[in-house]
Symmetry: C2
Subunit: 373 residues, 2 copies
């Protein structure tokens, strides 16, 4: 029920703040960059909607060549299917009959798959799929180094795949092999080591599946920090990157160190804020804080303003410090903040204000905002 921060045709100065801005030129550059990488690498692209939570963006990614979408939550899958996406992988385990029924209901309208790392999950999903008379795709999530969810690589994984194969209503599709923490490792060398270890876990599991005579159609994984490594391994055939559409300071900081491939993506996501107080010449306060961008990766950067630094973030304010080289900031001036972490920042907003050449060109509702169940 929040007010929409802009109208189509508005100039930047007319946008109410805080507002979540997408720079369309940079966004489109990013969408096409990864799509053409995937084409030339011969892998499928299934971008992660947990980043953008917006089926309008999903459909643009699909139009550029993606085969469908990933998401993490049933509520996100609901928003995607309602928004026209016809192939959704929930790259996560789903627990509880309520959630499984919501997912099964979607399987009438779209190809739906989810992940498993235990037989109890398989039993529960099989019961619900049978109850609803639908077929649900099933991926075995394997542990590749992150020590979060996932069954051990090799025999344990192929045993779970066989168990799925015997479960009515489920169809074994392949492996979920995602190394989330590797995405944010500071050096390219560390990321290479991590994905080399992950590849070894995938290879062991593929060997075990082959020995057991189980066909494995999909090996899915990778993120914005490592997708080139998974692609060149020859093992993964589906990429799940999400952040590449927007980027953030965390990726910029890492990319800046070693010039990895993803430094070719551009910042396209900003929080537009207004200077609301200028108590001293070297201090300006913006009207956007922790309720407009997430803070766990540090304060946002001030885009395009030399020598201006956000030195103090609170719930509804950011404190900008102007260094000697900074242009003065006056009350009412607008600044563009680059968030520390794009995914949880997006989850704070109801609308994208999509901008090109200084004008609002589109308004995209973030229909999976808050869809965490």
């Amino acid at each position: 029920m929040n007010v929409i921060p802009a109208q189509i045709g508005d100039t930047i100065d007319e946008i109410d703040t805080p507002a979540l801005i997408v720079d369309l030129d940079a966004f489109e550059h990013n969408v096409h960059k990864l799509a053409s990488f995937a084409r030339s690498a011969g892998v499928r692209l299934r971008p992660h909607a947990k980043t953008h939570k917006c089926p309008t963006i999903s459909l643009k990614q699909i139009a550029a060549g993606a085969i469908g979408q990933c998401c993490q939550k049933v509520g996100e899958a609901e928003a995607l299917v309602r928004g026209g996406v016809r192939d959704v992988l929930v790259s996560n385990e789903v627990i509880g009959v309520t959630k499984l029924r919501r997912l099964a209901a979607l399987a009438a309208d779209a190809a739906i798959a989810l992940c498993f790392d235990a037989t109890e999950q398989v039993d529960a999903a099989s019961r619900v799929a049978t109850e609803f008379g639908v077929e649900i795709g099933a991926m075995v999530e394997i542990e590749v180094g992150m020590q979060r969810c996932g069954v051990a690589a090799g025999k344990a994984a192929s045993d779970l795949a066989r168990y799925i194969g015997d479960a009515p209503g489920l169809r074994f599709r392949g492996l979920q092999a995602y190394y989330g923490t590797a995405q944010h490792m500071p050096s390219l060398g560390e990321r290479e080591d991590a994905i080399r270890n992950a590849a070894s876990a995938v290879r062991t599991t593929l060997d075990s599946l082959e020995r057991d005579g189980i066909a494995c159609e999909i090996v899915s994984g990778a993120g914005t920090g490592t997708f080139a490594l998974e692609s060149s391994s020859g093992l993964w055939n589906e990429l799940q990157a999400g952040s590449y559409v927007f980027m953030d300071t965390d990726y910029a900081r890492i990319g800046g160190k070693d010039g990895g491939l993803y430094t070719e993506f551009q910042h396209s996501l900003f929080v537009l804020a207004t200077i609301m107080s200028v108590p001293t010449a070297d201090r300006a306060i913006v009207d956007a804080g922790l309720k407009s961008y997430s803070g766990e990766k540090g304060p946002p950067w001030v885009h395009g303003r030399e020598d201006v630094e956000d030195v103090g973030v609170s719930d509804e304010h950011g404190k900008l410090k102007l260094g000697p080289k900074a242009e003065p900031l006056r009350m009412g001036d607008k600044v563009m903040l680059i968030p520390g972490h794009c995914d949880p920042t997006v989850n704070l907003h109801d609308w994208y204000v999509a901008v090109r050449a200084g004008r609002v060109e589109s308004l995209w509702p973030i229909t999976a905002r808050g869809a965490s169940s």
Copy 2:
């Protein structure tokens, strides 16, 4: 458009997760504790709705003795007035004619006040109040040590009060004197020093107003970490504490060090999560991450479970490590997480699930969720 996580009468196990839980016994204890403190200290209580963003809670605070509500944003003021609150102080500067008009529209139904730290803001608000034919209350925000917004104490502040007094449509009500960063200083001694300095700034300003013959009806400020100090100063006559209704690990951590007054408040806010994967005996993964609680104050605590620690927070997951003394956790088990920082955590949810004696007693919509403009 997200699903409501529970129905009235549900047991805890029936609540869908992640869900934001209010323990009603603890919540009511907190509401009455501060109300009775304020009564015995002879100060008014105007709790801050930026914490809870929910007029249902506002009305409970008012029923317990509060004179009205504070909020930080026009969107919050809209939610409060629509929800039946009749006295709202926006404890913040408001920039731009769009926002000022939204605020003026509320002044027909409720007593509305806001803060100023510059004459341009006064000119703009006066024009809008005149345009709408309403009277808006005006507070001068003074700098008391936080170095965020606020005009310098003393003559500059009383000059601004005089300027407001001359502005049609505005009525000078008093001083906004809030030291936000003092709330989170780790030792009581530091907080005492901070509020002593803040009191000196207030006294200087009151002296200046008196010399200029300007009546100052209200001195408003204080938070959960310092309210006893402002109260005993004899200068503040209105308390703006917000977090006391819920508490969080940040306040618990500070309170644990010196047994300050606010250790008497209880944790009443939890994120209910489900164990979704148990890959090893000492690791359990919950289905709630940075999109269900804010992360900038560290990971949440696991309530009532000895020797279980959240050691890894990601966007949609939390990684629990079970020590040798921990009871085992099984897939499907529910755990209650105490968030690091209550305000930005609340802003991620659409509903409070209010629980007593293991049952859902009420569902309260968080109508100002995301109301950041």
